[in-house]
């Protein structure tokens, strides 16, 4: 009849950190963040599934790799192997980041809509949780916890993938294509981390807009954030013959990457070869030449954050009196 208490009792903490961690508002926020991962399990299941698939591919690509590059590994230059290592570090994260974009989009479009759909909003509103802290916790999960979690998971996956590959190469099961280089590893990961931070800041307005849509729209949230902007672009083009909106959306999608001067970083890293062309000798050197600082002082990045804050404020205001549950 009786069931054992499944709620964990944590060991007592002491000191300043404990005071901060146990502050009621911090405790509430932490609980709300955990609640999002309880409800939206795909937030952690999908990235773990990507990791599992990548590691499985490291273990199971025996035949293909052998045929394609098995002989090449015999004569590959160590510099090329380092470059392949740096590129693999970067390339292996792509599946994780693609999944992250999908998760962020669907999570933020759903999070404030789901609580009205299943009528649990009245339960949430029976607790002393303000609308602002609710909305902020959801943006924090989608815009901060998820990207940082993905970064850590992608990094662990990178390392494990390389270890598995090197072990297999060592015992002769896989071609010896990559060469572990700690400096290249740290450079690649640092550039990717800073690139991620820039993405988080630059794309925050999209996340804010999704959050606002999920509290405002009564149904078909996804349609509203896709079809409506598309129609607006078409109508603008037909009615006024202008492309202001589509240019604006394109700028908000790619704009910040111009600040990084990736193209000139590549050009400057080329070593001339016979016949007038060039070759990249060192991939880590390209990462050295990427300009990250200008992105952080781009006024449009900060204006976007201001817009995001406006979305959070508006979403909290709308949720306050939303009683169509």
């Amino acid at each position: 009849m009786s069931t054992p208490a499944a709620v964990s009792t944590r060991p007592p903490q002491s000191g300043l950190a404990a005071t901060w961690v146990n502050h009621p508002q911090v405790r509430m926020f932490r609980t709300l963040v955990r609640r999002e991962f309880w409800e939206h399990r795909s937030l952690w299941l999908a990235p773990l599934a990507v990791t599992a698939l990548l590691l499985a591919s490291a273990l199971l690509t025996h035949g293909v790799a052998k045929i394609d590059a098995g002989d090449a590994s015999e004569w590959l230059d160590p510099q090329v192997k380092t470059n392949l290592f740096a590129l693999a570090q970067w390339g292996l994260t792509i599946p994780h980041y693609l999944v992250m974009i999908l998760l962020q989009t669907f999570y933020l479009l759903d999070c404030l809509y789901a609580e009205r759909k299943d009528r649990s909003i009245l339960f949430w509103k029976s607790l002393p949780i303000s609308d602002s802290i609710t909305v902020l916790s959801k943006l924090f999960v989608g815009g901060v916890v998820l990207p940082l979690g993905i970064f850590v998971l992608a990094l662990v996956t990178d390392v494990l993938f390389t270890i598995i590959w090197d072990l297999r190469a060592f015992i002769g099961q896989a071609p010896d294509l990559v060469l572990w280089d700690t400096v290249a590893f740290l450079k690649t990961q640092s550039v990717m981390f800073l690139g991620l931070i820039i993405s988080m800041l630059w794309y925050a307005p999209f996340l804010g807009a999704f959050l606002l849509a999920s509290v405002v729209v009564r149904r078909n949230v996804l349609m509203w954030v896709t079809v409506v902007p598309l129609l607006a672009v078409i109508i603008e083009r037909i009615a006024f013959g202008t492309r202001w909106l589509s240019n604006f959306l394109r700028y908000r999608t790619y704009g910040v990457w111009g600040d990084l001067h990736v193209e000139s970083a590549i050009l400057n890293s080329l070593r001339p070869v016979g016949g007038g062309g060039g070759v990249i000798v060192s991939i880590p050197e390209v990462f050295d030449r990427v300009h990250l600082a200008p992105a952080f002082v781009d006024i449009d990045l900060w204006l976007g954050l201001l817009f995001t804050a406006g979305c959070v404020f508006a979403a909290a205001r709308v949720r306050r009196y939303r009683d169509d549950a």
Partner: protein
């Protein structure tokens, strides 16, 4: 300091005080100039037919909807001070509102994490008396069990006002009885106030200390249960005294098995005794009379 001042003032002022409360949905009025007051340590039944304005009144009290007029709940204005108010108020809106994806253990951990006045041990003790398992998800529980879980969460919160909107709707008799017994025995004390709306008046009328009848957005009765027995008399009038009884202006009259039953407001028993059999009306009877009477 602020807290103690608040506590002292709470003891002297009503828990809920509504003056000229008004609310319309587009052109349809839901509440029209509603006035009522609820004191501390009372169990108040807010009773009315469907569409009478009960839920609108509760939503106003809980700061879930906009309204006009003056309303103070525990000294707070629910429009501008909802966050402060909700530290001292609990409510069950409907049995179905617990998130279906949530595990029982998560529900406990969640309320413990966000509510400063939640006693986890108390909730766990209550749940131990039920068949609810900690690992179960809400969607796996029967409707009765979901109510038990919700009640366990609410009972463990040290709130000053508990608002229940049709809390036992759709439950069988055993669960309904158990729900109210638990509420009365394990929760209620003289520092707490409970406001309940329900359709099943007969079952809970012994629970109330006060009733507020509401119809067409207006309060038609606001009285303590004690005062009802002093004020209202139901007379099963002898057939030959009907005309005489009507002369005393009953506010409600109906035929039951060929006999006329009349309801009087404020008439002394001595004056009515010769007309027939007297008794104090039940709250359910009084409710029907007030709702059907042209001049309640």
């Amino acid at each position: 300091m602020a807290r103690s001042t608040q506590t002292v003032s709470a003891m002297t002022t009503p828990v809920i005080e509504a003056r000229g409360l008004k609310k319309s949905y587009r052109t349809t009025p839901a509440l029209e100039e509603v006035n009522f007051s609820v004191g501390a340590g009372r169990i108040v039944g807010l009773i009315g037919p469907n569409g009478a304005g009960k839920t609108t009144a509760l939503k106003s009290i809980l700061g879930l909807t906009r309204f006009d007029g003056e309303l103070r709940v525990l000294g707070f204005d629910p429009r501008s001070q909802r966050d402060e108010l909700m530290r001292d108020v609990s409510f069950i809106a409907d049995v179905a509102v617990l998130p279906r994806w949530m595990r029982v253990s998560q529900a406990l951990e969640l309320v413990a994490g966000v509510h400063g006045r939640f006693d986890l041990t108390r909730a766990q003790e209550f749940l131990r008396r039920t068949d609810i398992r900690m690992r179960s998800r809400v969607r796996e529980l029967s409707k009765g069990m979901v109510t038990q879980l919700h009640l366990a969460l609410i009972l463990a919160i040290d709130a000053r006002l508990l608002v229940l909107d049709e809390p036992t709707l759709g439950l069988d008799l055993l669960y309904r009885r158990q729900f109210y017994d638990t509420l009365l025995n394990d929760y209620f004390n003289h520092e707490r106030t409970i406001l309940i709306t329900t359709h099943q008046v007969e079952e809970v009328e012994n629970l109330f200390t006060d009733v507020i009848f509401i119809n067409h957005g207006r309060v038609v009765l606001d009285s303590s249960v004690e005062a009802i027995s002093e004020r209202f008399v139901q007379v099963t009038v002898a057939p030959d005294r009907v005309a005489e009884a009507r002369a005393l202006q009953p506010f409600y009259e109906r035929e039951v098995f060929g006999r006329t039953v009349m309801m009087f407001d404020g008439r002394p028993g001595g004056e009515l005794a010769p007309l027939g059999e007297l008794r104090t009306p039940s709250i359910a009877d009084l409710f029907v009379a007030k709702m059907e009477s042209p001049n309640p």
